[in-house]
């Protein structure tokens, strides 16, 4: 366990813990809902990767921008999105954060700087670059953070963003969550070399970090976000992690042959960022087990309330669907 970030005030450390747990419990709920056939459309869970969203977003304010991926619930919640409205969205309800128009792959809350989850792999990279340009022109120290996967790193638009980001010294932090898979393809089978290296030819600093260590992520993001805020330009962070659930819920119904070893999954479960951080807090006597238990209970209650809110919300009015795409239809 890295020692970086250890000098954080205790309440901030506990807040990191709480937020990771909230994401985890919310998604466990979604996994259940999905298994029960309650969720329309595909659902990609973030289980195992929570330390990244939480470690990065700890540095962000509402006015900072993030773009996210198809696996976006964790980023949404880490950036301060409302759990109840997120669940309502995924359930397809009118109270959903996008009124039921977006669903799991499109949860967004612009008032919180969440430009949104994204169904296009790599689709958030250009959006974040544009938001970083706007932020730079605003001149008030805002930054834009782009979360994307190892698979997305193979989209050429990443190179384009590195080039422009470096040229214009944009306040942009590119966070690659390398979870070892691009859908069902192991990263190494579709990726030459190390992703973090791809920043260097453009003169952009690249940092590799243990993505299952929330404090290591916190520390890397601290440097990168500060550099961005201060006009130092972009940084690429490659956070090594693993998704312990499938690429998409329900995948075993159509992917009939295993694409990874059970032992590998188990090995990564043992490095689960949440119990790992819990042990670290306990070992360093920064929290008691009672305190952690109290957090867990509070989180469970928050999730239960959010589920009640979402489940009891009405379905959207179908007449709205045929409305205009435009602010000014004519």
């Amino acid at each position: 366990m890295s020692v970086t970030g250890t000098n954080l005030p205790r309440h901030e450390l506990l807040a990191l813990y709480e937020r990771m747990l909230l994401i985890r419990r919310a998604e466990e709920q979604l996994a259940q809902d999905c298994a029960a056939g309650k969720l329309p459309g595909p659902v990609h869970l973030y289980v195992g990767q929570e330390a990244i969203a939480v470690g990065v977003c700890a540095h962000l304010e509402d006015r900072d921008w993030i773009t996210s991926t198809h696996r976006g619930h964790g980023h949404f919640l880490a950036k301060g999105g409302d759990l109840g409205r997120m669940l309502a969205e995924i359930y397809g309800r009118a109270a959903g954060i996008c009124g039921g128009f977006g669903g799991s792959m499109h949860v967004a809350d612009f008032s919180k700087g969440i430009i949104g989850a994204n169904g296009v792999v790599g689709g958030g990279i250009a959006l974040a670059t544009g938001a970083a340009l706007a932020a730079q022109l605003d001149g008030d120290g805002k930054v834009a953070v782009c979360f994307f996967g190892d698979g997305a790193a193979n989209q050429g638009v990443l190179a384009e963003a590195l080039n422009v980001g470096a040229l214009w010294k944009l306040p942009l932090v590119l966070v690659c969550e390398n979870n070892g898979f691009s859908e069902f393809s192991p990263t190494a089978t579709v990726t030459s070399g190390r992703i973090v290296e791809r920043a260097r030819p453009f003169g952009v600093p690249g940092v590799e970090v243990d993505g299952n260590d929330v404090l290591a992520v916190w520390q890397a993001a601290n440097v990168a976000v500060r550099r961005a805020r201060e006009g130092g330009g972009p940084t690429l962070i490659e956070a090594r992690t693993y998704r312990t659930r499938g690429h998409v819920e329900y995948e075993t119904t159509f992917i009939t042959e295993p694409y990874r070893e059970e032992a590998e999954v188990q090995a990564w479960r043992a490095r689960d960022p949440i119990p790992r951080f819990a042990s670290w807090l306990l070992n360093h006597e920064l929290a008691s087990s009672q305190e952690l238990e109290a957090i867990a209970q509070a989180v469970a209650q928050q999730v239960a309330e959010a589920v009640r809110f979402a489940e009891s919300a009405p379905e959207p009015d179908p007449a709205l669907a045929r409305g205009s795409m435009f602010v000014n239809p004519r």
Partner: protein, 327 residues
């Protein structure tokens, strides 16, 4: 004959064609694992030379298809969802559709692009576009949209054997649909529409996924004593104008059903053809049943509100008939 799912019929066509012609290669994202099932087993059977998983990089993939075809291969290029075609659009619109014409026919480009197109499964806006109008407007791309497992097999074989770039668009909701599929090797030529249900009073031209609700609509209306003829174009480029216009000339009434957004939909195009070439036969306004000019929303209740269904089609047919009667 055996009952099979559409995706199985596609899978069979791929197996048989790759077996038949060793010049065929297939690549795309996760074609080995096969998200949809269409490419399942191909990697094991034909090996990593002929069946390749690519990284996620649609701009490269679509262009590689063109380059490999120009260099002598017969290429099957899997684009997964129709919306990802936009990501790889440059090489499709600027190269695949034009390279033969621009070079005065020096080469052929035998490429079959596979993609799932359209909505109906709450996959939301970025996974539900019906992209055939955009592709059909490019001019140099053939567009195939099967509506049944049997057609899927025969049309996919025709697409693969064709020497031009073809988009084979499988409707999102249709992979699981079962139907009888002949065992033998058969090909359904591109450019031949099918009259899937004959009738005297109104022609309903229904594209791809819309054939099923159109047939359901025909059942509903039959109970009201209305005889609907349902025509399935099967391929949009090339288009079998004769069969479509022949039906319109017979019935004098036309409803076109298309899962595309209305503006510049293929429904609009078929309506325009009829308004020009079957004008004297027309006895009522041509109705289009399409998706309004919006993205496909996520929640099932919203999505249902924008996609054409049997009831909306039936209403259009009734309106069409009422025109002749009340006017």
């Amino acid at each position: 004959m055996a009952r099979k799912r559409l995706i199985q019929a596609m899978n069979e066509a791929l197996f048989e064609e790759m077996e038949r012609d060793p010049a065929i290669i297939l690549f795309g994202e996760d074609v080995k694992a096969s998200l949809f099932g269409d490419t399942k087993g191909l990697w094991k059977r034909f090996g990593p030379d002929r069946v390749r998983d690519t990284p996620i990089c649609e701009a490269l993939i679509s262009g590689m298809a063109v380059g490999a075809a120009a260099a002598g291969r017969r290429v099957i290029c899997h684009m997964m969802f129709g919306n990802f075609v936009y990501t790889g659009m440059d090489a499709i619109a600027n190269q695949a559709a034009k390279l033969r014409y621009m070079t005065n026919g020096q080469i052929k480009l035998p490429i079959t692009f596979l993609a799932v197109s359209g909505g109906g499964r709450s996959a939301a806006a970025q996974h539900s576009d019906a992209i055939h109008p955009v592709l059909a407007n490019l001019g140099g791309i053939k567009v195939v949209m099967p509506s049944s497992p049997a057609d899927a097999k025969g049309l996919l074989k025709a697409a693969i054997r064709d020497d031009d770039p073809v988009f084979f668009l499988q409707a999102a909701g249709r992979g699981g649909e079962p139907g009888e599929v002949p065992e033998e090797d058969y090909v359904i030529p591109l450019g031949e529409a099918a009259v899937v249900r004959p009738g005297r009073e109104v022609t309903v031209v229904a594209i791809g996924s819309m054939v099923r609700p159109a047939l359901r609509c025909a059942d509903i209306l039959a109970r009201e004593g209305i005889e609907v003829e349902v025509v399935d174009p099967r391929t949009l480029v090339p288009l079998d104008r004769e069969t479509i216009l022949g039906s319109v000339r017979k019935t004098g009434r036309l409803v076109v059903v298309d899962e595309a957004r209305d503006t510049c939909s293929f429904a609009s195009h078929i309506a325009a053809l009829a308004a020009e070439q079957a004008f004297d036969a027309l006895r009522a306004p041509i109705r289009r049943v399409t998706v309004p000019d919006c993205a496909i929303p996520f929640a099932p209740v919203l999505e249902r509100a924008v996609l054409p269904d049997a009831e909306r089609i039936a209403q259009a047919v009734r309106d069409t008939l009422a025109f002749g009667r009340s006017a």
